[in-house]
């Protein structure tokens, strides 16, 4: 995936209830030119995957509180709708803030 080559295009995706929505999506490289409707589930599956992966890490380090921020861009790649992890605020693709209170910290030291 070469970002400097990417362009945007409006594509049609279908939600689980059958509703069709228009999405401005980035497109890179060559793509087959059949007119198709993409299942939006392909994007939500990717978001779930990313969230679950981050959660698994957080569970290991057990912070008292945590916030996670990530930017998603819809993209068509090799004819499939997919989610691109892109820069959100600042320069990070994935911004994670973890906090521990004093008690938690001392527990962890002992």
């Amino acid at each position: 995936m070469e970002n400097e080559n990417s362009r945007t295009r409006v594509i049609k995706a279908e939600l689980a209830d059958g509703t069709t929505i228009d999405i401005q999506s980035s497109v890179s490289g060559e793509e087959d030119v059949a007119l198709t409707i993409f299942p939006f589930r392909d994007v939500t599956d990717k978001i779930e995957g990313i969230a679950e992966a981050v959660m698994a890490t957080l569970k290991k380090v057990k912070p008292q509180s945590a916030s996670v921020e990530f930017g998603i861009e819809m993209a068509v790649e090799s004819g499939q709708l997919t989610a691109l992890l892109v820069k959100g605020t600042g320069t990070a693709n994935l911004k994670i803030t973890l906090q521990w209170g004093d008690s938690t910290l001392s527990n962890r030291i002992h």
Binding site: R9, E30, E31, D32, V33, A34, L35, T36, G79
Partner: protein, 365 residues
């Protein structure tokens, strides 16, 4: 009235849709044999994988708003990414079929007609050929034409040969005229070898796609005015070729009696595809015919830009003339007026010209 190859291509084009599949895919296809449509496999993928129904819409060349939507069955399927082609079968036979031809070279220009997202009832695009990719998964690379969603499976008509040399597969950028790539006819005929026989049968019975050219070939008559009557008879014998829009004729009666090598004649002579030298004593005796028209005609013939055919009308000594090495008609160079039946002589001439016209651009020498 004959129809142009472009119009015929439009009449062969159909829209292919799989509305019941999860992708609700739509693309383009075209008739390659009676009841048989060629398209891209990725257009009908849902029909293969989910058993969803295929619908084909045909307009009979946009002449009416009437359209017919007919169910089609998947007959052959070669999955994407390569070769990515499929054959659909349907109950419809009153349609024309394209002529398939493998020839394609860098710098050839192509015409295509398909069903893009914004003009789902048909839209045109012209493209230039850049050449081939590797030989194993060979694709034709195209530029300078915008290929949008829906064009998958659209036929590529090679302007040079008048044959369909591939079908559109992908776009290199839908938002610009960067072009795309096409599956070559060569691959289609390798995968679906039954098409060779079907194509041959169809085009032997239907002459609408025969002849290798997309536009009528221009014929220039070079003759002495004393032979005007014979020239007219020859033109009558060629009139079917003219009605089929395979040839268009030009002679200088319309431009007045002055026989100087004027710009009008020069222009016609320089753009003619076939130049007929109507040989007679009058032709050989005319400085104008011999020195101007015939010499220029031979130059164009030798440069490969036109074909010169000596038509021997009346007996004269011509064998040592500059055109003496060319194949003369009628048969054996026997002058038309020497035949017991003049019509038979002209028929022999017309037959030779028809063979030349119908094989035009097919790589004969």
């Amino acid at each position: 009235m004959g129809q142009s190859r472009y119009e015929l291509l439009r009449q062969c084009m159909v829209r292919v849709a799989v509305p019941g599949g999860p992708k609700k895919a739509q693309g383009t296809g075209f008739f390659v044999a009676p009841g048989l449509i060629l398209t891209c496999a990725h257009v009908v993928e849902d029909a293969q994988k989910q058993n969803a129904g295929i619908e084909v819409t045909w307009w009979k060349g946009q002449k009416t708003i009437e359209q017919r939507t007919i169910a089609a069955q998947l007959k052959e399927y070669r999955a994407a990414p390569y070769p990515d082609i499929a054959l659909l079968q349907m109950e419809l036979t009153d349609h024309p079929c394209v002529g398939l031809g493998e020839a394609a070279e860098p710098f050839d220009t192509f015409y295509s007609y398909g069903c893009p997202v914004d003009y789902p009832n048909g839209d045109s695009v012209t493209l230039e050929c850049e050449g081939w990719t590797d030989d194993v998964h060979s694709l034709l690379k195209l530029k300078q034409g915008q290929l949008k969603s829906g064009f998958s499976g659209a036929p590529l008509l090679n302007r040079r040969t008048g044959q369909v040399c591939g079908l559109v597969k992908l776009s290199r950028d839908q938002g610009t005229d960067l072009g795309g790539r096409a599956i070559p006819t060569k691959t289609v005929l390798q995968e679906f070898s039954q098409l060779k026989g079907l194509q041959q049968n169809y085009h032997q019975a239907h002459k609408d796609w025969s002849g290798g050219n997309t536009e009528a070939l221009k014929i220039f008559y070079s003759y002495a005015h004393e032979d005007e009557k014979l020239r007219k008879e020859l033109e009558n014998h060629l009139s079917l070729l003219k009605r089929q829009n395979l040839i268009s004729g030009w002679y200088d009666r319309d431009i007045g009696a002055g026989r100087e090598f004027g710009p009008a004649i020069k222009k016609q002579l320089n753009s003619a595809d076939i130049i007929l030298l109507l040989i007679s004593p009058s032709f050989m005796g005319s400085d104008y015919c011999y020195d101007e028209e015939m010499m220029r005609a031979m130059e164009r013939h030798e440069a490969g830009n036109a074909r010169v055919i000596p038509v021997i009308l009346r007996t004269v000594d011509w064998h040592k003339a500059p055109f003496g090495g060319l194949l003369a008609v009628p048969r054996d160079g026997k002058a038309v007026t020497e035949w017991t039946n003049k019509d038979l002589a002209f028929f022999d001439v017309a037959k030779n010209i028809r063979t030349l016209v119908e094989n035009w651009g097919k790589g004969d020498d």
